[in-house]
């Protein structure tokens, strides 16, 4: 009896969320462009998940993200054209491009997830503290975000990677850390704003009056009510995070040579680009994979922004 009532309550409490979700889904599915975005994202997820089956890594390798080299072709610099053994051809040093592009998808998702989870965690903690307590702490945190936001993102990231690499870090670790460094102020401000909005609500007062601790109020009352929009923004940032990482890799400040990373593969293709379209596959395939990835996120992002914007949604 008791448990049934609880389930009913739970249903009642979650009903608006489900309704909202279905509304968004229906609106998104209405526009062909956003469906295209969803399809592109699903295709990328499938590629990332099934990468080990599509392109099995060499047995016994410790790092599957290192692209296997064609042993028969040796160490020749000149790329070999696409053939039945290498569908996308090979690039510099006989690195297989199909493997690189497919595992590059997995690499992009892994890097994106690492960055988003870390940035969100920092943003959540700092934003909640800053918004909830206000005053001096708020001032300090906000001034820190001001300083980071005073730099164009990629430039600060570039400087940070160069410095960390100079002191012995691997450039890939440094690149991940630098993208976190330039990303956290955005989320912190967003969450702070949400917390400020929620903080004045009556149910927070009620919780405080009934003796709930700050930690409990933050985690049980403020967090669930402020995290929704932040998570959507964060997931839409996936595309731009991967793009920043690829740009760093393209500048030679990301993954090591031979890694299944789109930016790195395009970087490897640059010397051949100045020889014309003779070696077109070295840049076209990795580039096409990046474009399909970012296109998916941008298309979906556009649709979601329209749906979630309270001014334009119910028209």
């Amino acid at each position: 009896m008791q448990s049934k009532k609880k389930v009913g309550n739970f249903r009642k409490s979650i009903a608006p969320t489900i309704k909202e979700f279905l509304f968004i889904l229906r609106r998104v599915l209405k526009s062909p462009l956003s469906v295209a975005g969803l399809v592109l994202i699903s295709y990328n997820i499938v590629l990332a998940v099934f990468a080990p089956f599509i392109c099995p890594p060499t047995p016994g390798t410790s790092n599957p993200y290192l692209i296997p080299r064609d042993q028969v072709l040796g160490f020749r610099i000149e790329p070999t054209a696409p053939s039945s053994t290498h569908l996308f051809g090979v690039t510099r040093l006989q690195i297989d491009l199909l493997y690189g592009c497919v595992w590059g998808t997995r690499f992009a998702f892994q890097l994106g997830l690492e960055v988003i989870v870390t940035t969100l965690a920092i943003g959540l903690i700092l934003g909640m503290i800053s918004g909830y307590y206000g005053g001096f702490i708020d001032e300090v945190v906000m001034r820190f975000t001001d300083i980071i936001l005073a730099f164009p993102g990629l430039i600060l990231a570039m400087a940070f990677v160069a410095v960390l690499a100079r002191s012995g870090w691997s450039t890939l670790d440094a690149a991940v850390l630098s993208i976190v460094l330039i990303g956290w102020p955005g989320y912190t401000r967003l969450i702070r704003g949400e917390v400020l909005r929620v903080r004045g609500e009556d149910y927070i007062e009620a919780a405080r009056a009934s003796g709930a601790s700050d930690l409990r109020i933050m985690s049980r009352h403020i967090l669930p009510n402020s995290i929704y929009s932040v998570i959507i923004v964060a997931s839409l940032d996936f595309g731009s995070i991967v793009l920043t990482a690829a740009a760093l890799s393209f500048l030679g400040l990301g993954s090591q040579p031979g890694t299944a990373d789109w930016g790195r593969l395009i970087y490897d293709g640059v010397p051949f680009a100045s020889m014309g379209l003779k070696y077109w596959w070295t840049m076209l395939y990795p580039g096409a994979f990046i474009v399909l990835f970012t296109l998916g996120w941008n298309l979906l992002g556009d649709a979601l922004r329209d749906v979630l914007d309270p001014l334009s949604r119910r028209k």
């Binding site: 001034r143 005073a150 160069a162 393209f250």
Partner: protein, 350 residues
């Protein structure tokens, strides 16, 4: 609050931000071993010095002192423009920076007007012709522009126009002209008035240089324009759509104004207010875009210089360059805010 007080208040707020920028860069530099940090102070290369000579320098520059003393020494150097020695290009960092600013500035003055005019024009017309073929085409182009990474687009252009068709050589001038220019500079037949090739060539009345420089600016400009216009078009379009839906538009039409009058006098003026606010974002996008385009097309500007230095982990250059970029970016945002306050008085009065 008047506009003047607003500007003064914003200028005062700049001081703590710039101080913060400098402190952050100093903090980041602390990661680097002390033997490397010496290059942030010297005016010559330390590569070939004996270790004990470097140790003397560490003592001389106070790098064995506590952190705050180090900061004071470093700050007093930075404020007078001494950023140390750039090992990657073998010159004093400040000289390297200043020597390359004109080349980058040249790309900016060519591409920025195109981006602004073209972006606003496309956005306004796309909104006016909503869902017509023109609008659909613009939207597809703008989505492509935001999804196409600038480095991939740049490499594609490089392969087609430089590699395949051989219409343009990479760099700022064709090799033959570059050599000739170096000789002419040496013998005083060509005066560097501004450092901007487009203007200098006209002032020296050597029109083939003007033409050559213009041709070499085309590809970097194309990359920047395509990617940045895409951002601007999207914002202009949505803000114009919003303005066109307002009741004062209906009122203006109802009282008998022509369609063009309503679109250009009533809707567009109001639609451009939000566009001004994102121009700060555009400046940031330009600055990062410049790094990529200059690197792809081997254009000798600050961006490619900093990227090459970063690849060689040249700390003095990346420190100087990031502080330089922060100053430009913050000032650009300040100008945008003042402009915003100027055209929309609600901002400073509120």
């Amino acid at each position: 609050m008047g506009l003047r007080e607003y500007i003064i208040r914003r200028l005062l707020l700049l001081i703590p931000i710039m101080l913060g920028v400098v402190v952050l860069i100093f903090a980041i530099i602390q990661f680097v071993p002390v033997m490397v940090r010496v290059s942030l102070y010297t005016s010559g290369s330390i590569k070939d010095l004996r270790p004990d000579a470097v140790r003397d320098m560490i003592h001389q520059f106070g790098l064995d002192q506590p952190v705050w003393t180090q900061f004071a020494t470093w700050f007093s150097q930075v404020i007078v423009g001494n950023f140390g020695f750039a090992e990657s290009s073998q010159e004093r960092t400040l000289n390297g920076l200043l020597a390359r600013v004109p080349a980058t500035f040249e790309i900016v003055i060519v591409s920025a007007p195109i981006i602004v005019l073209f972006g606003i024009w496309l956005g306004v017309h796309s909104a006016v012709q909503k869902d017509k073929p023109f609008d659909q085409m613009t939207r597809i182009l703008s989505i492509l522009g935001t999804s196409l990474p600038s480095f991939f687009f740049g490499v594609l252009l490089l392969a087609i126009f430089v590699g395949q068709l051989r219409w343009i050589t990479p760099g700022r001038l064709s090799p033959a002209m570059g050599t000739e220019l170096a000789l002419m500079l040496k013998y005083g037949q060509f005066t560097k008035y501004t450092g901007l090739m487009l203007i200098d060539s006209l002032l020296n009345w050597r029109l083939h240089y003007f033409y050559d420089a213009l041709v070499h600016l085309m590809l970097p400009t194309l990359v920047l324009v395509f990617i940045q216009t895409a951002v601007l078009v999207r914002v202009t379009r949505s803000s114009m759509l919003e303005a066109l839906g307002k009741t004062y538009i209906i009122a203006a039409r109802a009282k008998g104004l022509t369609r063009d009058e309503v679109i250009y006098k009533h809707a567009r003026r109001n639609a451009l207010i939000p566009v001004v606010t994102i121009s700060g974002l555009l400046v940031g996008g330009m600055m990062t875009g410049l790094i990529i385009t200059e690197t792809v097309f081997l254009f000798p500007g600050v961006g490619s210089w900093a990227a090459t230095a970063a690849q060689r982990f040249d700390v003095s250059v990346v420190a100087a360059y990031s502080m330089f970029s922060a100053i430009i970016f913050v000032l650009a945002n300040l100008i945008v805010d003042v402009l915003y306050a100027y055209i929309d008085p609600r901002i400073r009065l509120g």
